[in-house]
């Protein structure tokens, strides 16, 4: 209770945030005077996340870094938190709020990088189908938008994106159904971290691995394995480890009065990267060392 607490609040339980946990851990080792926590809301919903942050403020947390479930329209709620504690955003920004700074990537850029992968893998053009958890979520919308932007003017087309409400059984069935319904599809995109592995498995079951170009997001072990194997063209990775690590250090410095780390526009962009066959080993090794395994 004596040490000031810094909290990293994520937008829902997902493996994606495991890397952030590692980043928090690493920062903790370097910030012995602080108590660092990573918090999962029990559901991915605005009301529950808001409630979690209210309670954290009550519990005396000094600074919060949040991946808001719905940043665009949660301005008031976030401002309420910002008025009571130092608020940072990550993952998806809420620029209209009084947050101190945003650290994260641009989902639009990530979408554009996915388009790059597709263009490189399919120079002759093709038809893509996307798969995502929540069609309505901001990160999904931005990635889709970015990809469409990146594909504009090429012969590659993103014809539809199917949602599964984060039910992985449905995620896999969606791919299976897509293979049946649209035999002319030549590429599939997994927008959420678990979508790519489900695409991989459905293709494997159907014996179509390698025949259909797979564009991935994030770094699920199966995705990385597919990249290495060559059956997944490449994957776009964000760096939640860096968000968490740098973010925690930034918050600690900010609380001590050192505001030099906050740029004028308040945006700290950790770029997303394309991991192809050549980089995958190095990336995986790096992941391992970061997680301290």
């Amino acid at each position: 209770q004596d040490k000031p607490t810094l909290a990293f609040v994520v937008n829902g339980a997902s493996d994606f945030w495991k890397a952030a946990e590692a980043g928090v851990k690493k920062a903790q080792a370097e910030l012995p005077d602080y108590d660092l926590q990573l918090k999962y809301p029990e559901q991915s919903s605005v009301a529950i996340q808001q409630r979690l942050m209210d309670d954290l403020v009550t519990a005396g947390v000094k600074a919060i870094m949040v991946s808001a479930v719905d940043p665009k329209t949660s301005t008031d709620g976030l401002n309420k938190i910002a008025s009571e504690t130092a608020l940072f955003t990550t993952d998806s920004d809420a620029p209209q709020t009084k947050r101190v700074a945003y650290i994260g990537s641009s989902n639009i850029d990530a979408g554009k990088q996915a388009a790059e992968i597709a263009k490189k893998a399919m120079p002759d053009g093709g038809k893509c189908l996307g798969f995502v958890g929540l069609l309505g979520a901001d990160n999904a919308k931005e990635r889709i938008e970015g990809m469409k932007e990146g594909l504009a003017g090429t012969k590659i087309e993103l014809i539809d994106v199917r949602g599964d409400d984060i039910d992985q059984a449905r995620a896999k069935k969606n791919v299976e159904d897509a293979l049946v319904a649209s035999p002319d599809v030549t590429c599939m995109v997994g927008f959420y971290s678990y979508n790519t592995p489900r695409i991989y498995e459905a293709l494997r079951d159907a014996g179509k691995l390698g025949q259909i170009t797979v564009v991935g997001f994030d770094d699920d072990p199966i995705t990385l394995g597919g990249v290495k194997e060559g059956t997944v063209a490449a994957t776009v990775v964000q760096q939640p480890f860096e968000w968490a690590y740098q973010g925690m250090k930034l918050m600690a410095a900010y609380l001590k009065g050192d505001k030099s780390g906050v740029p004028a526009d308040g945006l700290i962009i950790v770029p997303t990267k394309i991991i192809g066959k050549d980089d995958v080993d190095a990336y995986a090794a790096n992941l391992k060392t970061m997680a301290g395994k």
Binding site: Q1, A13, Q37, K39, Y40, P41, E42, Q43, S44, S45, V46, A47, Q50, R51, L52, D54, D55, L56, V57, T58, A59, G60, V69, D70, K72, T73, S74, T75, D76, G77, Q96, L134, L135, G136, A137, D138, K141, G163, D165
Partner: protein, 331 residues
């Protein structure tokens, strides 16, 4: 206040005291205000549910209705520019109509409440998602409705107005449920619908009225939730809220077989559930355990209540037996 309710109250106080000792910030006015705000929101839902449970029914579509009506409300006033004093009653009427439809299907077409409201759960959420094309309904930056915000999310003398609304609704519904002719019919129908019919009660109408009341209260609470989150993604908003409401009623001594339960109980049940959520966050318990804590406490609560009843009965009997034996010996 019945013994059951008293036991629940004591449990709430004891848990509160323990939490306050571990983390005194529990008692900060701001925390109490935050928590009582949520008690207000969920309490209104739970009262609605209670009306239906009393009749031996169940309303599973509550969470989806909160999402659908929330989306509509925000859309009406934020996007379509409807004045809120028009939108608010309109939403309440819509809630009432949903209740009416459920009640009608259940009483006139003799479908089971579980089935009807399960379909409602699926349909309303689908409609809400379709309406926004799976997008989020929310207020634009800087869009303000001062009076509406004061009424829904504001505070009077530090007390959230949502909580005050709950108290007012609770008092009115207490009178309706426990003192009025209508309330008596609800209890009677819950226990023995056939007999109520034989007594010349238009049971159909009474049951429909219960669903309408539930619908209107759910709609009211949907507005409160919308103004609390100010943003609604229809895919997840309000998910599982029906379970919260049912759990509150069950904790408060309602029987899902109908005909049993008190209004004070359902309020206390809501208070306990919200206290638990608050406690998980305040004591730094991993939020993954949140549900487990809730489930565990409900189970223990119901078990203790049940076993206490058995124990008391047995003690009463044994007491009588001993007294009798003593009397016999004296003769």
């Amino acid at each position: 206040m019945s013994k059951k309710d008293l036991g629940l109250l004591i449990l709430i106080l004891v848990v509160g005291a323990v939490v306050a000792i571990i983390n005194p910030r529990f008692l900060l006015p701001i925390n109490l205000a935050n928590t009582s705000n949520l008690i207000g929101l969920f309490g209104i839902l739970a009262i609605g549910q209670a009306f239906v449970i009393i009749t031996g029914g169940i309303e599973l579509s509550v969470g989806s209705v909160v999402a659908l009506l929330g989306v509509l409300f925000v859309d009406f006033i934020a996007t379509r520019g409807m004045a809120w004093p028009v939108a608010l009653p309109l939403i309440l009427v819509l809630g009432g109509l949903i209740g009416l439809a459920h009640g009608w299907l259940i009483t006139r077409l003799k479908l089971q409440p579980f089935v009807v409201t399960l379909c409602g759960l699926l349909i309303y959420r689908g409609v809400a998602r379709f309406y926004t094309a799976d997008g989020t309904a929310g207020f634009a930056f800087g869009q303000n409705f001062p009076e509406l915000e004061f009424l829904t999310a504001g505070r009077s003398y530090g007390v959230p107005n949502s909580f005050i609304a709950l108290i007012v609704i609770a008092i009115v519904t207490w009178v309706v449920l426990h003192r009025s002719v209508f309330g008596r019919y609800l209890y009677a129908i819950g226990k023995n619908e056939e007999a109520a019919k034989y007594s010349g009660i238009r049971t159909g109408r009474v049951v429909i009225a219960a669903y309408v009341i539930c619908g209107v209260l759910t709609a009211l609470s949907a507005i409160y939730f919308a103004m609390y989150t100010r943003s609604i993604s229809p895919a997840s908003h309000g998910q599982f809220y029906e379970l919260y409401a049912i759990a509150a009623a069950v904790l408060g001594g309602f029987s899902l077989r109908g005909g049993e339960g008190s209004l004070i109980g359902v309020i206390l049940g809501t208070v306990l559930l919200q206290e638990l959520q608050n406690l998980v966050n305040l004591l730094g318990i991993p939020s993954s355990l949140n549900f487990a804590v809730m489930g565990g406490v409900i189970l223990i609560g119901v078990l203790v209540d049940q076993q206490w009843g058995v124990f008391r009965e047995r003690r009463l009997m044994l007491g009588a037996a001993r007294k009798g034996a003593a009397g016999a010996a004296a003769e």
